[in-house]
Each structure stands twice: as C-alpha cells, then as structure tokens.
C-alpha cells in the first residue's frame, strides 16, 4: 500500500475576499481613502458638501409658499421659527408664476389665452419626435411641417388663413421644383422656384387667403410682438433661431467649403464677422440700427428684429460646426460621387450632407443650447424675457428685495431645458458612434 498519509482529492473552495476589499467598506477604501492625499481630499470635499447642504437645505425647504408679499413672508417666518434667520420666500414664484412663464401677453392680461403657448410647445414636442427618435412613424413629419406654420399662428394670433395659405404656397413650390428639376439644372430650378415663391407671396397670397378665410373662418386674438414675454419669449426666439438658422447654416458651410472663390470668400467673411463680435452688439444692431437699413415704410418691431439677428448669429456658429463635419469626411466620398456621375447638388444631398450632418449633430445641439441660454441677453435691450420680468417683479413694492428665489427659479427652468438637450446630445453621440472603443 502507499506510504502517503493524506492526499486531497477535491479542490478547496475559494476563501471569501478580505472583508475590507468588498462591500461598502471595500468601495470606500478604493474610491475615497486609497491614499493619504486622497483621504485629505475626501475630508475637505465632504466638509464642503456638508457645510453647503446645512446652509442651503433649511433655507430651501423651510421656505414659505403662501404669502402676498416679502414682508408677509417675514412675518410668517417670525411666527413660525422665531430665530431671526431668513428663509426662502417661494411665494413670489407662486404669485408671479403666470407672469414669468407666459409673460404679459398671455399672462395677467388675457388669462384665457394660456392654451395657445401650451399647445404651441406641445406641438413642438410632437414635431421633434421623428427627428429625435428615428424609429417613430414618418407620418409625424407632417406634424413637423404643420408646426412650422401653426406655432407662429398660435403665438402671434390672427386668421388661420394666413398660415394655411403660406403652407399651401410652399407645398405648391415643392411640386413646382420637382417638375422644374426634370427640365433644367437643379440649381436653376431652385432659383426659379425661389422667384416663383416670391411672386406667389407678393401677388397670390391675398386672394388665396381670402378664399380660405371664407372656408375656414377661424381667427385668434392677435398678440403684438412687443407684448410677447416671459419664457414664451425665450422659447419663441430660441425655436425660430434654431429652425431658420439650420438651412442658412448648411448653405454657408457649403459656401465656405466651395471651390468657387467669390462664394467661398463671401461665406467666410460673413461667418467670421458674425463670430467675431459679441451677440449683444448684434442685438443692438437689431434694436437700434436695423430700422435705418430698411426703407422707412417698414415698421419692424424689436422682437422680430432681434429674432432675425439671433438667427444670423446662430447660423454662423452652426455653419462652422457643419464645416467641421464636411472636413471630417474623406475626400474619397466626393470623388466616388463624381465618378458615379452625380452632379454637385445630387452628391451633396445623397452622399456628403447625410454623413457630415450626422457627425455634426452633437455640435449642432450644443449650439442650440447656447442660443437658448443667449436669449436672456434680450433683457439688456428692455425686452421682457424671464430676467427682464424678474427686474420688474422686484420693482414692485410687494416683492422689493427678493433676489435668490427668482433667480433660482429661472435658473432651474433653464437648467431643465439645457440639461435635457445635453443628455440627448450625449445619447445621440453614443448611438451614432460607429468605431469600437
């Protein structure tokens, strides 16, 4: 028999890992206290966070929501806590909610009109769904097209015939372009279509819209541009700038990449001049100078003028983003398109732009975020965006001296919009990434 006393025939089970490397202790050791310097950093940061929370949380959550004025708020604080400290007087947000969100036009004056901006924003959400999530039904693009005409109608009011006529003329223009493009070069067809559209708007709009007005006698109470205010103003300027700037930006980017010297220089000059000056100077141009540059018969109201200049500003920035996307494409794509016999516009439409725009989407979205934040600048030229309204609320004796609550609320609303957009852009970036990392 064998002399071997003991032979293990089966494997021993694994020992559990040391207690200080697993669970919450292990996590804290590796993520918070892995070295002396890390421990010091953690302690400093923790002290900072605790300090901040202790000073902020009571102020925020012990605040008052029901009061008529700041002094009323203070009376409530004295009666409730009696410690002489200040707490948030959120009552101002409750009291002036309508004014901050809807402004004067839809707000205090005409409470019955709230549904218009609300419906407008809902329409915008519906219309961007097919763009945001490509697997949804393509029929939603009809809603996108309709929103282009319905949103301005909901905000500015007037007869429904106006937007319907404009939409019809544009649809007719599209079919005219399809027909013309078969007969001549696409660039000439485009030029001819633009001329046709201009003629149609000059001479046919009035008769057509009167016919439609007879069939569809729906009219909304008109709202003057200078009365649009609050977040409705911010959203309207932002949406108009975003929608209108995209096609201009694509043309500018193509112009800047073009081989045609004059087109190239003109596009480059425009982009560089707009990008070289601060937005506030362009807003000054809109409110002060634009009336000189137009015939004196034009009655341009400040909101519309600001929209035009903000749109041009956004277009210049987005053009640079798209140019980056165009430059990132390999030269082979254009050469392949050429060798297939595609002409310039066919190559751009079918080969180049789909790829370039896909690369530039994150940059475009971040520009949209910027333009939405930049709409606050209009408060400097005395338009009533939320910041302008916060000034006028403070100038009321009831709420004189209230600062943090108003700015905090406005900041929160902006933050929700912008953070949402930036998360969406990150999601897109991940989805569109085709390399392997």
């Amino acid at each position: 028999m064998s002399d071997i006393g003991y032979v293990r025939t089966e494997m021993l089970g694994q020992l559990p890992p040391p207690g200080n490397t697993v669970g919450i202790v292990g996590w804290m050791r590796s993520n918070l206290f892995s070295s002396v310097s890390n421990t010091i950093l953690t302690l400093i940061a923790a002290a900072f966070v605790v300090n901040l929370l202790f000073s902020m949380i009571p102020w925020i959550f012990l605040g008052v929501w029901n009061a008529d004025s700041l002094s009323h708020c203070r009376e409530i604080f004295d009666a409730k806590y009696g410690d002489g400290r200040e707490y948030a007087c959120w009552a101002v947000v409750r009291d002036r909610w309508d004014q901050i969100i809807f402004g004067y036009s839809f707000g205090n004056l005409n409470e019955g009109l709230y549904w218009r901006p609300i419906l407008g924003v809902l329409l915008i959400f519906v219309s961007i769904t097919p763009i945001l999530f490509p697997n949804t039904s393509r029929w939603l693009y009809v809603a996108t097209f309709a929103t282009l005409f319905l949103y301005p109608w909901l905000i500015w009011g007037g007869a429904l015939a106006g937007p319907v006529t404009a939409a019809l003329i544009f649809i007719a223009g599209y079919f005219a372009f399809r027909a013309l493009a078969k007969a001549m070069l696409p660039s000439f067809a485009l030029g001819a279509t633009i001329v046709l559209l201009a003629v149609a708007f000059l001479y046919l709009q009035a008769p057509i819209s009167s016919v439609i007005a007879a069939i569809l006698p729906i009219e909304l109470q008109p709202v003057a541009s200078r009365e649009i205010s609050g977040f409705v103003l911010s959203i309207t300027i932002g949406v108009v700038a975003i929608v209108v700037s995209l096609p201009i930006a694509i043309l500018l980017a193509l112009g800047r990449q073009s081989d045609l010297l004059i087109v190239n220089k003109l596009s480059t000059g425009f982009i560089e001049i707009i990008r070289g000056v601060p937005l506030i100077t362009l807003i000054f141009v809109a409110t002060v100078l634009l009336k000189y540059f137009l015939p004196s018969s034009f009655d341009l109201d400040p909101v519309l003028a600001v929209m035009i200049l903000v749109t041009l500003f956004t277009a210049a920035y987005i053009a640079e983003v798209i140019r980056g996307g165009l430059a990132a494409l390999s030269k082979g794509q254009k050469e392949a398109a050429d060798s297939l016999g595609l002409n310039y516009w066919q190559a751009q439409r079918l080969i180049i732009l789909p790829q370039a725009l896909k690369i530039s989407i994150p940059g475009i979205v971040s520009n949209f975020i910027s333009v939405f934040k930049d709409t606050t600048l209009v408060s400097i030229v005395a338009l009533n965006d939320p910041l302008g309204i916060s000034d006028s609320i403070r100038s009321n004796s009831d709420w004189n001296g209230i600062v943090w609550e108003l700015y905090g609320f406005i900041a929160l609303v902006f933050w929700i919009f912008c953070f949402g957009m930036s998360r969406y852009s990150l999601y897109l970036e991940r989805k569109l990434r085709t390399d392997h990392r």
Partner: protein, 417 residues
C-alpha cells in the same frame, strides 16, 4: 451625347456659360456677387437716405467732444472733461482687463478641475461633475447677476468699518478691505519716484519700466547660464549648480532698484463715506469676473477632461512600465499630448469669454459696450457710428486673439509627415 464621328468644335457659345461645367462656376459666381452687391447697396442706400432725412450724416467727429460722464473703474487717467474717444479707450482697457483676469482664473481653475474630474476619488470627481452640469446649463448673464448680488449682499458696507468697535475689519495687516462697493488693495508707491513717460495716450511709470527691464535682463542671464551649464554637462558629465545664481540674478537687481527708489505700499484708508487710496476693484468688476470665470471654467474643465481622455491608454501604461510615478506620468507623458487637443478648445473659450465680457453693460461695469455703446451713444445719438465702431473693435480683438493663439497652437502641435 455628342456625335462620335464629328468632334465638337472648340468655339465659345453663350449657352456654354450655363451648360459647360468649366464656365458655369463663373456664371454662378457673377450672379451671386451681383445679388449680394445689390443687397448691400440697397441696405446702404436706405441707411444713407434715412440718416440724411434725420439730418445726421455719418461722421466720427463726436469722438472728439467732451464726454461729461465719470468712470469709476479705470486703468488710465480719465475725467469727465475727457473726450468720448478717451472714454472709449478706457472702456476698451476695462474690457481687456476683465477678459485677461477671467481667462487667467478660468484656465487655472479649469485645469485643476479637469484633473480632479478624472481623479479616482469618487466624491471629488462627482462634485466637479455636478459643478460643471449646474453652471454650464444656466445662462451666463444669470450667473453674473447672481455673483454681483452675492458679493454686494455678503460684503459689509464701508461705514461698517468706522467707529470704535467696527463691525467689519480689514484683512492682511489692515491693507485689504472687502466692502460692498468693491475691494480696496494696497498700491505700490515710491518715495523717490522717477516720474512717468507720456506715450501720447497714456502715462507709463518709469519705476515699472526699470523693474521690468531688470527682471527681463535677469531672466535672459539665467537662460544663458542654464545653456552654459548644459554645455558643461555635455562635455564633462557634471552639471554646475545654477539655481542660486539664477535666483540672485533675477531677483537681486530689482530688489535693489526698489529699495533705491524708496518702494512702499500705499494702504487704502477710510475717508468720509468710502475708502480712499490704494487700488480699487469695483463690485461690478468682481461680479462680472466671478460670473464669467465660474461659467467659462466649466467648459475648460470639459476641454481638459476630453483632452486627457483622448490620450491613448497605452501611453500611461507605457509610462507606468517605465517606472514613472502617476504625477510624472501626467506631467511628462499625458499632458503634453493632451495639450494638442485642449489648446484649440481653450482658444475658443478665451474668445467666448472676451465676447461674453460685453455683458458688463447689464451690471454697470464700464467696459467698451457700456461706454461707447452705452452712455456715449445715448449722449451723442450717433447710433450708426458708435455701433459700427464697437463691432469693428470687437472684431479686431477677436481676430488678434485667434491669430496669436493659432500661432502658439502651430508651435506646439505635432508635426505630421
């Protein structure tokens, strides 16, 4: 399709301007040029007609008139008797001042924040991430207002410093005062001054020139000394010590010069309702500076983070394999490569900060927009001239920054073959 048997004659026909790809480009360009020119001409002729109807043709002579308003924050001599051109110049310097201060502070905070964002300390990296997400998604104008209001609400009023038992006290041996009108700091003064040179538009202090010249001389000497040390090291293997000599060469001459000129610090002191003397940073400058810095820092943090993350992981692994410690890996291997990605983004953030400094007009800091585009415009009624001049100046600043930064970028970027 052309007829194969008879090659087309090379003769120019008018239709070739449209149907021949060689000439179509020219047609399109001429057409576009005509369109743009006529558009511009239309705008310009409207402007001329409208301005003529108002009786104010475009002239820039208003810049020579007396401005008649005060500017509390200024880097060069200015009084309400100075001209509008002078006020514009003061505003320009103020714009450049806040832009410079903001860029410097945002760069330092942004690089530190970007490195902390990638730290393996969970709490710190999350805090930086939270800071970035909060500050980046809210308009900068709102941050400027918040900073301004915070500063004026928290800092004591000047009168709190008065009396037997003042509520507030100055810091750093009674030399710096934080008040809600601004920060007052000591200024360098000389008991045996050398005077100033007038260079036409502003005075340059000779003392500053002397000290600067001595410092630059010292630095040149130190570089020569280092080069000599390197040469000796190449030849003999031993490097002579240079640190002490260099430090002495740079510092000693300026210190001797300062003592010889009788250097002392002029402290601000309470006089009447406010502090007098010393260097004053007005509350609006501080609010603007803080707001711009806190906002722009978030973008620089993201630039630094993305730049560092873009460096291939193999680089840090190779550095670790060579035995470099984490700190040296960062300094010697990762940052030099990350800089190439970071710098272009940094340039555009500097440009953005400079342009955003125009929001000064919202809180009353007398920058270029508040002087030329604000009070001067309102007093003289010269909208066209003032705003065009304003845009031209900003365009020049932007173009100079981007030219300078691109030059630097070209110097540090990888030479590709």
């Amino acid at each position: 399709m052309s007829d194969q048997s008879a090659p087309p004659k090379e003769q120019f026909q008018l239709s070739m301007l449209i149907y021949d790809a060689r000439y179509r480009g020219i047609t399109i360009q001429i057409f576009v040029l005509l369109l743009v020119m006529s558009g511009l001409f239309w705008l310009a002729s409207n402007a001329v007609t409208n301005l003529a109807a108002l009786g104010k043709p475009i002239r820039f002579d208003f810049l020579g008139d007396t401005a008649g308003y005060d500017i509390n924050q200024r880097l060069v001599e200015y009084s309400s008797q100075s001209t509008h051109a002078r006020a514009t110049f003061v505003g320009l310097l103020n714009t450049l001042l806040v832009a410079f201060m903001g860029c410097a502070a945002a760069t330092i905070l942004g690089v530190v924040g970007g490195v902390l964002r990638l730290s393996n300390n969970w709490l710190v990296s999350r805090m930086v991430a939270l800071y970035v997400e909060i500050f980046r998604n809210v308009p900068v104008l709102l941050w400027i207002f918040v900073c301004m209001f915070t500063f004026t609400a928290l800092a004591p009023q000047p009168r709190a410093f008065r009396g037997e038992n003042p509520e507030a006290s100055m810091y750093l041996w009674d030399s710096v005062a934080f008040t809600n009108r601004g920060i007052y700091m000591p200024e360098p003064l000389f008991s045996r001054p050398l005077g100033n040179i007038d260079v036409g538009i502003f005075l340059v202090s000779l003392e500053l020139l002397v000290v600067l010249a001595l410092l630059i001389g010292g630095i040149i000497f130190a570089r020569k000394n280092n080069a000599r040390a390197a040469r000796i090291q190449d030849e003999t293997g031993d490097r002579p010590s240079t640190g002490l000599v260099n430090a002495a060469a740079i510092l000693l001459p300026s210190i001797i010069a300062l003592i010889a000129m009788g250097f002392y610090l002029g402290k601000p002191a309470l006089a009447g309702f406010n502090f007098k003397g010393g260097i004053n940073m007005s509350a609006s400058l501080i609010g603007l500076w803080l707001g711009l810095t806190l906002y722009t820092t978030t973008y620089i943090i993201e630039a630094v983070r993305s730049g560092i993350q873009a460096v291939n992981k193999g680089q840090s692994e190779a550095a670790a394999a060579l035995g470099l410690r984490p700190g040296r890996t960062m300094n010697l291997v990762i940052l030099p490569q990350a800089m190439r990605i970071i710098i272009p983004q940094l340039i555009s953030q500097y440009l953005n900060l400079t342009k955003n400094s125009s929001l000064a007009v919202a809180i009353g800091y007398m920058d270029l927009v508040s002087t030329l585009g604000g009070i001067t415009l309102n007093q003289t009624g010269r909208e066209m001239e003032a705003i065009l001049l304003l845009m031209a100046i900003y365009l020049t600043i932007s173009l100079s920054i981007s030219v300078g930064m691109n030059w630097y970028n070209n110097r540090v970027k990888l030479v590709e073959r």
